[in-house]
């Protein structure tokens, strides 16, 4: 069984790659059929993934390796590794990936670059699966960049729009900033620990090799996660990334790719466990992000922007969870979040598809027009808000419990506040979109079945995905991820978080249904805060004024420096050379050459006389020659 799985595991990432190749080369011929190629490949991957996960569930670890780089004495190996962590991600990626490919068939219908879209999806799935199955940090880094580039392509998919092109670039470059740190981290770990294989970087290993440099490496590695998972302060790319098609937002920027950062931190959990200072940095960043994202989401009016900030906030949750040591809870939340956030995005996509706008202020009252979308969306909203027994409740509660029980009061308090805000803005979204009166001018219609079926399947997961980690199944999930971790359910905390969520829903109901004029009054009352939220805490402006400006200034200045000074020196030395040669030339002409010229003048005068002999008539030459011969003959016989 295990042997079998180690063969199958190699096929999982490559099937979508085949889809990519087929679509990129034959996309024109395939037309709309290209979607089915990608769908078939991703579904096969899903089936294979299930076959591979089965032995993992029973405790096996599947690994295959081969040499990739050789240098001097050593070699870097690549391969595929399926352990519990990877298995969860594998499940999430292939399952959601297939559903979203299915959904995209409806959403992207009629797009001029239809096949290109599915090619990119195939490439993304390949990269993401490669990332998930990586055996070491170098391999993960490679696929890390690859998913980044897929994200770049897909954000900029409608590249005729300048905003889309800019957003893609911004995403890629922001990620690169994190990746530079990531790379330095890898290098530090490589030289500090001598290995980058996940299977070597165990808890025991760090117990024996407790060097400060490894802690620093942990911080640098976390930079990668900050970039990819849109954590503070590199979160700015994710809201802009919503310029991409909505299925892309769902797949890449909600469910899978952005979770890669969390996955990385979870992979390196032994490292952070061994270095509490690094872990606390992780926790602080995570908590900050969770609150900040939720705060900004409060005022966003674009339906996808709200979800984007919500994603940032939820990712902050997961990062914070791992930072405080609740790795299994973080992964649990990652899984549940993937399902309900994908559902939210797809629902939002369905709404956009049906109405043609993204602005919530124009929506309202869509419940009747789009019942399937509305119901599934509501499920997901309940899940994210943390209402029992939906999936989000169990995972979020798990994190809060851990924070509370392991004495992280600040983290606990902030996360609880974030949970309140989450429930509030999510229901604000629901109320503004689906309830009340329609404010815009359009005829909303329900999306086709190819889009609603994935919604329903995801809705099922949004409800059910929480149970494996709930007390009903004895926290099976946590035990699977991290065997031996003691997880206790705390009924009081469950009550507390439920009450917080419900009260937030109540507030939202009051503000947006009962008294629609309330929000305006509140914003008037706390204008500075509202402005801060509306302007996303001015992150873009600050970066624009500092980092971007600095780079532009440096580029311009260095170019000038290059032209004027470095090149100037070259040209200057040439000019000095010319100048010297001119002086020399003068001396030469009038002094040195004067003497020469005198000789020359004499020569010229003489020659102007002798020149007369040079008639050009051959006879004269011959005659002179003849006379010469005669003279020679006379000379030699004398």
């Amino acid at each position: 069984m295990v042997n079998n799985a180690s063969t199958l595991i190699c096929f999982i990432p490559f099937l979508p790659l085949i889809a990519f190749a087929i679509n990129i080369f034959f996309g024109k011929q395939l037309g709309e059929k290209s979607a089915w190629v990608t769908l078939a490949c991703s579904t096969c991957s899903f089936v294979l993934a299930m076959l591979v996960i089965r032995p993992v569930l029973s405790g096996a670890v599947i690994q295959v390796n081969f040499d990739w780089i050789v240098f001097g004495s050593g070699a870097l190996q690549f391969g595929f590794l399926a352990d519990p962590l990877a298995a969860i991600m594998l499940f999430v990626v292939t399952c959601i990936g297939s559903l979203i490919v299915l959904y995209s068939i409806g959403y992207m219908h009629g797009d001029p670059r239809f096949s290109r879209f599915f090619a990119y999806l195939g490439l993304f799935l390949f990269s993401m699966l490669g990332l998930v199955l990586s055996t070491n940090l170098v391999q993960i880094y490679i696929f890390w960049e690859l998913v980044g580039v897929c994200s770049y392509f897909l954000i900029g998919f409608w590249f005729e729009k300048d905003s889309a092109a800019n957003a893609g670039k911004k995403a890629f470059i922001t990620n690169r900033i994190g990746d530079v740190g990531f790379f330095i981290g890898i290098a530090l770990l490589f030289y500090g620990a001598g290995t980058v294989n996940f299977t070597d970087l165990t808890h025991e290993y760090f117990h024996h090799h407790h060097q400060a440099i490894l802690g620093i490496a942990g911080l640098f590695l976390f930079c990668g996660a900050i970039g990819k998972s849109a954590q503070f302060p590199l979160h700015v790319w994710l809201p802009d990334a919503m310029e991409g098609p909505t299925p892309v937002s769902a797949l890449i920027h909600a469910a899978t790719m952005v979770a890669a950062g969390v996955y990385l931190v979870a992979r390196l959990f032994p490292l952070y466990e061994a270095f509490p200072h690094s872990a606390s940095v992780v926790a602080v960043i995570g908590t900050t992000t969770a609150c900040m994202g939720a705060f900004i989401a409060l005022s966003a009016n674009d339906i996808k922007k709200v979800l984007a900030y919500s994603t940032i906030s939820q990712l902050g949750y997961m990062i914070a969870a791992i930072g405080i040591g609740a790795m299994s809870a973080g992964m649990f939340h990652l899984m549940t979040h993937a399902f309900f956030k994908a559902l939210l995005f797809l629902g939002a996509g369905s709404v956009i598809h049906g109405t043609g706008t993204q602005d919530m202020r124009e929506m309202g009252g869509l419940f009747k027009a789009m019942p399937k979308t509305a119901w599934t969306f509501l499920m997901a909203t309940l899940a994210i808000s943390g209402i029992p027994p939906f999936a989000g409740f169990w995972s979020k509660d798990e994190i809060l419990t851990h924070a509370f029980l392991h004495h992280h009061p600040v983290v606990f308090g902030l996360l609880l506040a974030a949970a309140f805000l989450t429930a509030f803005y999510m229901f604000r979204l629901v109320f503004m979109t689906f309830f009340g009166k329609t404010r815009g001018h359009f005829h909303a219609h329900e999306s086709p079945a190819v889009m609603t079926v994935p919604l329903m399947i995801l809705a099922f997961f949004a409800i059910a995905a929480g149970f494996p980690g709930s007390p009903f199944m004895h926290h099976w999930f946590q035990a699977f991820v991290l065997p031996g971790e003691a997880v206790k359910a705390n009924f009081g905390l469950m009550m507390l978080s439920s009450v917080v969520a419900l009260s937030a829903i109540g507030c939202a109901y009051y503000c947006y249904i009962v008294k629609p004029e309330m929000p305006a009054r509140i914003t008037q009352a706390i204008k500075p805060l509202y402005q801060a939220s509306l302007n996303k805490l001015w992150f873009d402006e600050i970066y624009g004024a500092t980092v971007v400006r600095l780079f532009q200034w440096l580029a311009g200045t260095l170019f000038l420096f290059d032209q004027k000074i470095v090149d100037g020196a070259v040209n200057g030395s040439a000019r000095v050379g010319l100048w010297i040669s001119k002086i020399k030339n003068w001396i030469d002409q009038y002094i040195v050459d004067g003497a020469v010229n005198l000789v020359g003048a004499i020569t010229r005068i003489t020659s102007s006389i002798l020149r007369l002999f040079q008639t050009g008539v051959i006879h004269h030459y011959l005659l002179v020659m003849f006379i010469g011969i005669l003279m020679i003959l006379y000379g030699i016989t004398k």
Binding site: I69, G72, I186
Partner: protein, 486 residues
């Protein structure tokens, strides 16, 4: 070795040049055919060398040694090892592709291809020569046709660019000649033989001075900051195929010099100067990246990106470690392929739009689909996307250097970031955004252009996915070289 394959490799283009010179100048088609056939044969020969190469031997192979000038103990000595092999294959490949890309040359076709073939001889000779004297001869042989190729077939400021290139490199090679002579007169017995010279243990002070002299010669060719300013001018003014050769092969001659002469013969000097080289490399990487970011001329941008990328090679060299030097050699190869492709792409665009001003473009992604695909692919390679060759090389360089110069390497990582910035900015300015109505009529890539680009793309992808393909050739030689250094 009965068949003197290396000699053929070096002098086949010279024969081709003779054949071209004997062809009447009206018969342009035949001239092009001759040049192409010769270049193709050259490529096949290089592949044959690849087949004949023994993977487990880090030393010189297929050597051909004949006494040339007995009075000076100069030999005609050709040979190949894991360091020169990738360069030879790269040269042969790029020569063939640039030759095909040269079909667009309109005036004085005969002279062009004659000089072009002479250039090939010079380049291959430089990479294959194992005698310092012979090396210097070939090194200078490259200079002359290059001068004419830029100066006659170049852009508006061709005279300036050509003379700058010529004088600058000539000044450098004079220092190199001084260094070579110093080595010759100090060695016992007096010899130009590079392999024999490795056995000479020169005094430390002597090594430092000579290393500096050689460094100047090579640094100008690479070019290392601050000796790089001839590069943008020469690149911008040279015709497209010549830019390809210039960036793809000529720059590599400089770093190859370090691998072949400076490092093995003067290990002490190398160790002494390596930190400074590292610093210069880091400056070059960051500086080149920033300046590239400020460019509006597509070709100039690629030229400055070359400064940045060649900085990585120097960084790898400075590390004196197996991984860093392997990476440096791989980067030489990869940069040759990728920048060659980039220049071909710039040329293709210039042929259609007659401008290289980046701000004039936009939205070409919707007009020229194949072009867009290739440009994105190559840009991704250039900015170091994993799965393409640039990444592997830069990764190995940085990883190999990190242990020795952590701070310099950390700073150099900014270069990777900058590469992303300027390449993506370029892609955006050319391909993305709304279509400028002026360019709606542009045609997509022709079959010939795709033919010149496809091999480069395949090579870069193959190396990126499975670097051992090429690393297995290089590693034994690099290991031997590192052995000499320590």
């Amino acid at each position: 070795m009965n068949f003197p394959i290396l000699t053929w490799l070096v002098f086949l283009p010279l024969l081709g040049m003779l054949a071209v010179m004997l062809t009447p100048k009206q018969n342009e088609k035949l001239i092009k055919q001759i040049a192409t056939v010769v270049s193709a044969l050259l490529f096949l020969l290089s592949l044959k060398v690849l087949m004949a190469f023994n993977l487990h031997d880090g030393g010189i192979q297929l050597a051909e040694k004949v006494m040339w000038i007995p009075q000076l103990n100069v030999h005609y000595y050709l040979g190949i090892d894991g360091i020169s092999l990738p360069m030879v294959v790269l040269t042969a490949l790029l020569s063939l592709l640039a030759c095909v890309a040269s079909y667009g040359i309109k005036d004085r076709v005969k002279e062009y291809f004659a000089l072009y073939l002479l250039l090939e001889t010079g380049m291959l000779g430089t990479f294959l020569a194992l005698d310092l004297f012979l090396f210097y001869v070939f090194w200078e042989v490259v200079l002359v046709p290059m001068y004419f190729l830029i100066g006659i077939w170049g852009g508006p400021r061709k005279e300036y660019a050509a003379i700058k290139f010529f004088l600058y490199t000539l000044a450098g090679s004079l220092f190199m000649l001084l260094g070579i002579l110093a080595i010759y007169f100090t060695s016992t017995p007096q010899t130009f033989d590079m392999i024999a010279l490795r056995q000479n243990n020169f005094a430390a002070g002597f090594q430092h001075i000579v290393f500096l002299a050689l460094f100047l010669g090579f640094a100008i060719k690479v070019p290392i900051w601050p000796f790089h300013t001839w590069l943008p001018d020469a690149h911008v003014e040279a015709p497209t195929p010549i830019s390809v050769i210039l960036a793809g092969v000529l720059l590599k001659m400089g770093t190859y010099g370090f691998f072949r002469i400076s490092y093995p013969i003067l290990p002490e000097g190398a160790h002494w100067f390596a930190p400074w080289m590292g610093i210069l490399a880091a400056i070059g990487i960051i500086y080149g990246g920033f300046v590239a970011l400020a460019q509006t001329d597509f070709k100039k941008l690629v030229a400055y990106s070359s400064v940045s990328h060649m900085g990585f090679v120097l960084l790898g060299l400075a590390s004196c470690s197996a991984m860093g030097m392997n990476g440096a050699l791989l980067q030489m190869f990869s940069h040759g392929v990728l920048t060659g492709a980039l220049f071909l792409l710039v040329g293709a665009l210039y042929d259609r739009a007659h401008t290289r001003d980046l701000s004039a473009f936009g939205g070409l992604g919707a007009v020229m689909k194949v072009y867009a695909g290739i440009l994105i692919f190559v840009s991704m390679g250039s900015l170091g996307l994993p799965g393409l060759s640039g990444f592997v090389a830069e990764f190995m360089i940085l990883l190999g250097t990190f242990k020795i110069y952590p701070v310099i390497t950390g700073l150099s990582c900014i270069g990777i970031l900058l590469a992303a910035c300027y390449m993506l900015y370029t892609v955006q300015r050319v391909l993305l955004g709304k279509v400028n109505p002026k360019w709606e009529k542009l045609t997509d890539m022709t079959g010939r252009e795709i033919f010149t680009l496809a091999p480069l793309m395949i090579v870069t992808l193959a190396i990126g996915v499975y670097p051992i393909l090429i690393l297995k050739f290089m590693t034994p030689a690099i290991t031997a070289l590192v052995g000499l250094l320590s």
